[in-house]
């Protein structure tokens, strides 16, 4: 009970909406792809990572394959991978653009993707090519429902 109360207070501080079942969280102000990546837009820049739903289902991440700075990423296409439980899983970009920064901390601490998927576990930052692409992404509530439906099917 005490840990649940702590989680609620922490969630409130971090502006996280807690789900009623499980612990997969969805953050307001982000947009989401159906391949379980999130994007945070700030002007012409975007930060990209994988969602809490993804990290929970992937298991402990032991390695992150990062693109080089300057690489082009395309909406829906793979730009890197995470390794977990003997599997590499593609990370697909929610938006097209040019990579301006990668999270080098993931080289030594790949587990940040699990422990902090929306904050210190971010993966790349890009300069956006076409802001219209954001319209095809899901809002937080839509993504939340999408995850529930996916999990209910299996």
């Amino acid at each position: 009970m005490a840990s649940r109360l702590w989680a609620v207070r922490a969630a409130s501080y971090l502006r996280i909406s807690l789900r009623n079942r499980g612990f997969a969280t969805v953050i307001k102000d982000l947009k989401y792809a159906d391949s379980h990546e999130w994007v945070k837009v700030d002007g012409n820049s975007a930060t990209i990572g994988i969602t809490d739903h993804a990290q929970d289902h992937l298991g402990d991440v032991v390695y992150v394959e990062l693109p080089g700075e300057g690489a082009e990423v395309k909406q829906g296409a793979s730009f890197g991978a995470v390794e977990s439980v003997k599997a590499t899983s593609d990370i697909n970009s929610p938006i097209s653009g040019k990579v301006v920064e990668v999270n080098a901390k993931l080289n030594d601490s790949p587990g940040l993707v699990n422990s902090s998927p929306y904050e210190s576990g971010w993966i790349i930052k890009v300069e956006i090519n076409n802001a219209d692409e954001l319209k095809s992404l899901m809002e937080p509530d839509q993504y939340s429902k999408f995850c529930e439906e996916e999990d209910a099917k299996h």
């Binding site: 391949s35 289902h57 992937l58 298991g59 032991v62 390695y63 394959e65 829906g76 793979s78 991978a81 390794e83 977990s84 439980v85 003997k86 599997a87 590499t88 899983s89 593609d90 697909n92 996916e150 099917k153 299996h154």
Partner: protein, 272 residues
Amino acid sequence: MAVSQTRSMGLPLINLLRLRGVPILQQLHLEERLLRTSYDNWCIINDGTTKPTIVMGVSGKAEELLEIESVIRDEIPVIRRFTGGGTVIVDQGTIFVTFICNKDAFPDLQSYPQPIMSWSSLIYKKVFQGIGDFSLRENDYVLGNHKFGGNAQSITKNRWVHHTSFLWDYQTSNMGYLKLPKRAPEYRQARGHLDFICRMKDHIPRSNFIDRTIDAVGSHFVLTSADLEASQSPLSLNFEPSSRLLKREELEEAIFKSRARRACAASAPQAS
């Protein structure tokens, strides 16, 4: 536009490609190419490869995983493959079974590592029914508590590959090229290689395993025989696979790193 048939009698179609003695690097290139450029489901069975070869996972570090000086001395090839997971040494005794599938082949199967691994264990549970005490234990295929196959996977947006190298038989001396891995399942309990693994040939004849595997695959798919030519497509012509042979210079650099690590560890202040 013609729509290719993807299901028959409610089961997904799969192309069965039977190979014999194909070099493991060539097999890995084929698998990655089919994963990335094909729209079909594939089951590839390679009955043994050529000479002993070490195959590390995508993030494998030679200095941590291999007895590099012996590997270089004996000129054992070392490959880094495109899938995750640990290190194996494969040879003519190894049997390889690979599944490359569309996510929608099994709509009820979530394309994450553990569900796919669990699905694959259903196939092998059938293979070993009445033969051995098979189970999937902490992501390893075991008979009793002895591992007999190395598994790994790669998952893309719409497809996945699950491949296994089965230790039907192996040379004891080859295991000496592999260090004890830092990341090991709990059930291993710090056992050395020879106490941890077992030979499948002590449980099942080779052709019997392959035949029973094909039968088990047939309970999940409708099988169509395919050949290597069928695996080629216009999309695959420009594809560049990522699995590769490590160069001698890379292995020599790994020796240097390994020695540097040992020197650091030796000179670190002891905890009081």
